[in-house]
Amino acid sequence: MIELLASRYTYVLMFVLLGIGIYMTIASENLVKKLIGVNLFQTAIFLFFISMAYIDVEGASAPIVPHHGEPGEVMVASPLPQVIVLTAIVVGIALTAVGLALIIRIYSEYGTLREDTLREVRADE
């Protein structure tokens, strides 16, 4: 168990981060913090992808082809997760931008960032 934790500690970290992210999304009343929670949640998944590539190949280095060294001598992490995470990060940025734009609109219309206040304001109307 200890050994497993020692070698797989990144996975544990990622899932703690994932939990914090989803908890923030659900529990925080502040809309901006909610969005930060979503971001944290996504980032945890990105890191999960990255660490996965390193752990499956023992002692791997970054997936950049070295200009010295014999072929087969250097262990390289799988580049595929890194490439797809790059795409996922771009998607995440776009989502954050749209989310923040919506929050700005909500703030200018209702004058609040808190979800509970927002609920009251909308119920009054």
Partner: protein, 548 residues
């Protein structure tokens, strides 16, 4: 296997709308109204290309394109086969139809058409991709465009609805991504065909089961299954009237298609059947959504909200069909799911367009306000009645064919509770459809005037109490073909929420073209019902390949 031009069509179908999406904004710097023309040319071209691709697929089997020439083990492959081409035809067809409506009725402005084209591009990407990670990217592209479309409604409520949708939709897509991560960890590939070979042979089966669990949760949210549907009614209700038909008909449909694709192509039916509790979980999610969705639809007062909850139950039927496919390996149920996806897309587009027309001309949004519609607008009411009956599943409409195949599959697989749920949901669907039909055909319009008489101040803005009332009398005797200026004035009755149609335009009477679109939708819904057998024949090569 195919050569030349056909091979290039799948990437073209995705790239063309996304590139064209930049044009309305770019041209908008110089010219005022280019958005619609650009969108019209693009979607019409896409529809033609989809038709050509469909004939090629029908004649020669699946068409594949390897992007950039990288082998599929680490590159991205685009695949058009019998199942995906159905969704491609639906997406392009509905997009063209809704676009025809928005020329007169819909939201205007170049940014709207940019989002429109982006959405179409994303949805076509979902349909055509052969790579599970690429599927995530396209899911997010189409979702981003949908958030923008939902928030383009005029009222501040639309921003709240869009933000709710954004947070839930993002978490859902992330859940799917976690599922992909687990499956990738166990197999080391992202291509659907490669995955199908690698999954049963993978060493770490627990990873794959966990991955499938995450994927189910992700898609249950994206497809709006109870209890994860809560984003959907407010998003559909708050979106501009011209955008709701597109979103309602296509966005969840594409997600449901993707889920079906993962079940039959990636995980494969035999493997899922051996996975503990996979079938029962999918079946339960579907059946509960069918019942919860219809019950919630029955108690709604707003027509758009009612139709939104009805989507929850109709997609529940599709997910139930997938459950039957897993549990019983039933080809029939899968055919039913495919037909129901296409049929429901057309029906919901038609129904939301009708609701948009009624809202544009009378500001009527609740079921009560639909009273006497048959007298005032016989054509709209007629088309709406046909669409509602099709939704209930009255033969020969397409709604019946899909349900029939699903129910038949359930009976063949001896899943009697599922058959009972389908029967019960039909009854409940009839309950809310009948409520609307009764209002339209058998309640006199005078009832409507008193029903929405709670706004003398609003009438005053239309030029005085008496005039307003007279306008309504005119309306009541109007046969619907001719619009009086007064009737146009009444259309801004803010009991329905002013400008929630999100266009901020001056009062426009409903054009014949707008009515023609929903009449075409109704005709297509019935015609496709007669073509049910053709659907099954068309899917046959795909089914024999998948179910061996």
């Amino acid at each position: 296997m195919n050569s030349g031009l056909v091979d290039l069509l799948p990437p073209l179908l995705i790239v063309a709308p996304i590139l064209a999406a930049t044009l309305p904004i770019a041209l908008g710097l110089r010219f005022d109204r280019t958005g619609w023309s650009v969108a019209a040319i693009t979607t019409a071209g896409l529809f033609a290309a989809a038709g050509y691709l469909a004939s090629a697929v029908h004649a020669g089997g699946r068409v594949t394109h390897t992007l950039g020439g990288y082998p599929r083990t680490y590159g991205i492959q685009l695949v058009a086969d019998q199942f995906s081409i159905l969704v491609v035809l639906l997406v392009t067809g509905v997009a063209t139809g809704v676009l025809a409506y928005t020329r007169r009725g819909g939201p205007r402005g170049n940014t709207f058409y940019t989002a429109y084209l982006l959405l179409v591009g994303g949805l076509l990407g979902i349909s055509l991709t052969g790579d599970v990670f690429n599927l995530f990217v396209f899911l997010e592209i189409s979702s981003l465009a949908t958030y923008a479309l939902v928030s383009s409604g005029d009222g501040p409520e639309s921003a709240v609805a869009a933000l709710k949708y954004l947070i839930l939709g993002t978490v859902a897509a992330s859940m799917y991504l976690i599922g992909v991560a687990f499956v990738f960890m166990a197999t080391g590939t992202l291509n659907m065909v490669e995955l199908a070979e690698a999954i049963p042979n993978a060493e770490r089966q627990t990873l794959i089961q966990t991955g499938f669990a995450f994927i189910v949760v992700g898609f249950a949210t994206k497809v709006a299954q109870w209890p994860l549907h809560s984003w959907q009614p407010s998003a559909y209700e708050q979106a501009p009237d011209g955008a709701t038909p597109l979103i309602a008909a296509l966005v969840s449909t594409a997600s449901a298609y993707a889920f079906g694709r993962l079940i039959v192509t990636v995980f494969e039916v035999d493997y899922l059947a051996s996975m503990p509790r996979a079938a029962s979980i999918v079946l339960t999610v579907g059946c509960v959504s069918v019942l919860a969705g219809t019950v919630l639809a029955v108690i709604q007062r707003e027509v758009k909200r009612m139709l939104a909850y009805s989507s929850v139950s109709q997609f529940g039927l599709v997910i139930t069909a997938y459950g039957v496919v897993i549990a019983g390996g039933s080809e029939t149920a899968f055919t039913g799911a495919a037909i129901h996806l296409v049929g429901h897309g057309i029906l919901k587009a038609g129904l939301f367009l009708s609701a948009a027309i009624v809202a544009t001309s009378y500001g009527a949004r609740t079921v009560d306000e639909y009273a006497g519609l048959a007298k005032r607008r016989p054509v709209v009411a007629g088309a709406m009645a046909v669409l509602l009956f099709a939704l209930v599943g009255v033969p020969p409409a397409v709604g019946f064919v899909g349900k029939w195949y699903i129910a038949l599959g359930a009976v063949e697989a001896e899943l009697w509770p599922v058959a009972a749920v389908i029967f019960l949901s039909t009854m409940l669907t009839l309950a809310y459809a009948a409520r609307l039909l009764e209002k339209m055909y058998f309640t006199p319009a005078a009832g409507a005037a008193s029903a929405r008489g709670h706004g003398p101040d609003t009438v005053a803005t239309d030029g005085g109490d008496e005039n307003g009332d007279k306008g309504r009398e005119d309306l009541a005797s109007d046969d619907g073909a001719v619009e009086t200026p007064l009737a146009a004035g009444v259309s801004y009755d803010p009991t329905g929420g002013p400008g929630r149609d999100g266009s901020g335009r001056s009062p426009d009477p409903v054009s014949n073209g707008m009515v023609a679109v929903i009449v075409v939708a109704a005709i297509v819904a019935v015609a496709l019902g007669f073509a049910g057998g053709t659907f099954a024949d068309f899917l046959e090569p795909f089914l024999t390949e998948v179910f061996n």
